[in-house]
């Protein structure tokens, strides 16, 4: 048990180092985007004087290194800064200004909600299908499952979204086609409104997880202990679920984590199609108007989500290995 704790702490430390490096990359990358907030907002009326004034007010005239450490200090104290786009220039930083945190928080929680709903459908479905595909490998079922999940992952997300809208909203009005959820909406209604985007995303992420589950299990079927299980006269289902699956967990967990990370960070298209107010849309909008504090904060949240999920996957894979759980 002690060694696991040590490994977890090590990974956690490494995760923090990675996050620090990523923060530098984000900052440098965002700040080397062409164009400039002051010029973008002033448009036609951008005289050199007014641009300089706004840049000075926002601290954009400071050297990059100074700005980076200011930003980092803010991040460490959970002060994500003030959104440029919502600034009240008459009363800078005071009443009327919206902080980045205020802007991101509701969007992030919406995204998390959608990701959770999707994961609750997709992960059990993928693992179950993967087990069945391994059990009935090379049969018609296996091929059909493979073909269906592969074609759903190969089609563009918006296409799958429109297909679902057509069948589940237009032809058979089961779910609403617009997911305009808002704060304070009752859970049931919220769930109903999120159903179509969640199903679309399910179609997108299931293939990976299912195929990895199938491959990881089949990979083990040639092991001597699987042969032994068969020679004990166990049923094929028991051989796979009881003897192969526990040893195949590590790769499966890793693919699940990658797909969950995708659900948090990469769902802009689905959000746009269903008008779902998630963090993806906010991110894209902020890039358009060069709202640097929001872009940076989103990037950092995405990076943290990736690192955290991978870390969790690592830890779970380690814990799933009896050699580490029960040292000699």
């Amino acid at each position: 048990m002690r060694s696991i704790l040590k490994i977890v702490l090590q990974r956690l430390g490494l995760g923090l180092v990675t996050l620090f490096v990523v923060s530098i990359v984000i900052f440098v990358a965002v700040n080397s985007l062409p164009g400039d907030f002051a010029e973008a907002i002033l448009g036609q009326g951008a005289t050199p004087e007014s641009v300089a004034t706004i840049r000075r007010d926002l601290g954009l005239d400071q050297p990059l290194v100074v700005r980076y450490f200011d930003w980092l200090k803010g991040m460490l104290t959970f002060d994500l800064g003030t959104s440029f786009a919502q600034l009240n220039f008459a009363n800078f930083g005071g009443a009327g200004s919206v902080t980045v945190a205020e802007q991101i928080a509701p969007r992030l929680s919406n995204t998390m909600f959608l990701a959770t709903v999707t994961a609750c459908i997709a992960v059990p479905l993928a693992v179950f299908l993967g087990i069945l595909a391994a059990l009935y490998r090379n049969t018609a079922f296996d091929k059909a499952a493979n073909m269906f999940t592969l074609s759903s992952i190969s089609s563009p997300e918006f296409f799958m979204a429109y297909v679902l809208i057509l069948f589940l909203a237009v032809l058979n009005p089961v779910f609403p086609s617009l997911s305009n959820i808002f704060e304070g909406m009752p859970f049931g209604e919220r769930l109903e409104k999120s159903m179509l985007p969640a199903l679309t995303l399910t179609l997108v992420v299931t293939a990976h997880m299912m195929r990895m589950t199938r491959a990881a299990i089949i990979n083990l079927l040639a092991s001597p202990y699987i042969e032994m299980a068969r020679l004990k006269g166990l049923s094929p289902m028991r051989v796979i679920v009881k003897h192969a699956l526990p040893n195949a967990l590590a790769p499966i967990i890793n693919v699940v984590a990658l797909n969950l990370a995708y659900l948090i960070t990469g769902v802009v298209v689905v959000e746009v199609v269903f008008v779902y107010p998630g963090i993806g849309q906010l991110f894209v909008d902020s890039v358009k108007i060069r709202d640097i504090p929001v872009v940076q904060a989103c990037c950092l949240i995405f990076a943290a989500a990736y690192i955290l999920l991978n870390l969790t996957a690592d830890i779970l894979s380690i814990v799933s290995n009896p050699r580490l759980r029960h040292p000699k």
Partner: protein, 547 residues
């Protein structure tokens, strides 16, 4: 009395390159209740395939094409999967070669033990657990009350093998297939497992098919012996007849392998400088010392066998000599000259002097290079020969290892048999024109007849070229046939060393004695006598632990 198992005209085919090729060409076999049949033959003889077919099971890419396997009136070839599942584990059980690989690493031993009885509805989980503990006690596992609640990786190989025998017994089957159950074990551990298996099979009057390539082992275990060669039966007889009076030439040749013995060489002249001198080396992996103050000399034209169980430090000593693992203390001298500890600091000529031949010729040869390239590389690197000269030298080397150059020069390792691959390994070592060769378990992966050929070749090369060998092995029969001197190692220390003739005549160090007396002999009464001599609780590991 009717037969429990009757196999008639069994033909089995294996799939390779889209065609089905015969593996077993019509074998008959009968087994009565409580009878033990030994199946013996070299690798590729089809022993395991027959053993599995006796359970109505074939591996992927293998099929039963003809014949019947009748177990208690049921033809397992025609039976449905469900019928077979009802028999497997319950009435027919299997004990695999490597228990470490055949226990599921994710579950505790006891959970795997009780799985059969519970799934077959033979016994409740609680009752089966209790029975498991009882079986562990009968098989003399240490801590029988607790050992079942450990995971496989927490238990040693010999203990796992016994736990697997217990698992096979869990439903009290009528028939158990033992597939080389002691091949992967050290001699002292092997004895314990053999004794346990024999006892329990006798107690429950279980019939068994005992598959092995080791004659002496099968002599202890079986009532009858069937000899197989490339999928055909050579002959079958009861154990005593088979040992004393084999009919077929092939069987006789198998029996004769054990008789190869080199004549003793003259003693080393006083004051001569040894080719290799290992002086008080202590070496460590990480912070743990695995060698403690090891010293021995190897003289010109002589073979020093380094003997010990796995983990005794034999191979580590070899790594120190070659400079792969610089020792923490002590030094290595060649012809009286002390060498740098790290191979990277040695000159090309110093490197040339010591070559190695490996246990697994399969993995020691680059599968993508032809034989000509594999042997040509050291010829060029050490001898500086290129073009036609290099080719000529490679041909000479192939002649020396008795492989026709024109036939083998352009082949890939995958086109050679195991013994031929090992010969290429020898040629590659010779290419450097060394004085000294380390042979690391070079025959342990080979069948007895092939191994004997390799030993004879090494002996001839030594006579012709005056080579010195350090021969690492755990097989005392090999030591007997080829060594001049013996170094016995245990837990990283040299326990005893001296001339072979002295080592094989008493009195020895207690551990050497234990090793020597643990090597199975061809006498069917050997195990019985040994157990009587040592006492039931004082065999194998138990005896080692008491030292």
């Amino acid at each position: 009395m009717s037969n429990l198992l009757t196999i008639k005209g069994l033909k089995i085919e294996g799939r390779s390159d889209e065609t089905w090729n015969p593996i077993i060409n019509g074998v008959d076999l009968t087994l009565k209740k409580g009878e033990v049949l030994g199946l013996i033959g070299e690798s590729g003889a089809g022993k395991s395939t027959i053993g599995l077919a006796a359970m109505g099971y074939t591996r992927d890419g293998v099929r039963i094409s003809e014949g019947t396997v009748e177990f208690d009136g049921i033809d397992l070839v025609k039976a449905s999967a469900a019928v077979k599942r009802g028999l497997l584990g319950k009435r027919i059980a299997y004990v695999a070669q490597s228990a470490a690989a055949s226990f599921n690493p994710a579950h505790k031993l006891m959970d795997q033990h009780t799985e059969g009885p519970v799934q077959h509805g033979v016994d409740s989980r609680a009752a089966s657990t209790e029975d498991g503990i009882e079986l562990y006690r009968k098989l003399r596992l240490p801590n029988p009350d607790q050992i079942g609640f450990r995971y496989p990786h927490q238990v040693s190989g010999g203990q796992l093998q016994r736990a697997m025998t217990a698992m096979a017994m869990s439903c009290r089957p009528d028939l158990i297939i033992f597939d080389e159950p002691t091949t992967a074990l050290d001699v002292t551990t092997q004895i314990e497992v053999l004794a346990s298996i024999r006892e329990i099979v006798e107690e429950f009057d279980t019939a068994a098919i005992y598959i092995t390539h080791d004659l002496a082992v099968v002599a202890q275990m079986a009532d009858n012996i069937k000899v197989l060669l490339r999928g055909d039966e050579v002959e079958e007889a009861d154990t005593r007849t088979m040992l004393s009076d084999p009919k077929e030439d092939y069987t006789k040749s198998l029996w004769a392998v054990r008789e190869f013995q080199r004549p003793a060489k003259p003693a080393v002249p006083e004051g001569s400088v040894p080719v290799v001198s290992v002086r008080g080396i202590t070496a460590a992996y990480g912070k743990t010392d695995v060698l403690h103050d090891v010293s021995f000399d190897i003289h010109a034209g002589r073979t020093v066998a380094v003997v010990g169980e796995s983990g005794s430090g034999k191979s580590t000593a070899a790594r120190c000599i070659t400079g792969l693992l610089p020792p923490r203390m002590g030094e290595i001298a060649f012809d009286g000259e002390v060498l740098p500890a790290d191979y990277r600091k040695r000159t090309k000529d110093q490197l040339r002097q010591a070559q190695m031949i490996y246990q697994m010729a399969d993995t020691a040869l680059n599968p993508r290079k032809t034989i000509g390239q594999i042997i040509g590389r050291p010829v060029q690197f050490y001898g500086g020969l290129t073009g036609a000269k290099r080719r000529k030298r490679v041909n000479e080397l192939l002649d020396q290892i008795e492989l026709e150059p024109s036939q083998y020069y352009n082949r890939l390792p995958s086109e050679l048999s195991g013994g031929q691959k090992q010969r290429i390994g020898i040629a590659r070592a010779l290419a450097a024109e060394p004085k000294f060769i380390i042979c690391d378990e070079v025959t342990s992966a080979l069948d007895q007849l092939v191994a004997e050929g390799i030993l004879r070749l090494l002996a001839d090369l030594q006579d012709n070229l005056g080579l010195s060998y350090m021969f690492i092995t755990h097989d005392l029969a090999t030591v007997k046939s080829i060594a001049d001197e013996v170094v016995v190692m245990k837990e990283g220390k040299v326990i005893e060393q001296g001339e072979k003739t002295d080592m094989f005549t008493p009195p020895h160090h207690a551990y050497t004695d234990l090793l020597l007396s643990s090597v199975p002999e061809m006498d069917p009464d050997w195990l019985t006598n040994l157990l009587e001599e040592r006492g039931v609780d004082n065999i194998g590991d138990a005896a080692v632990d008491k030292m």
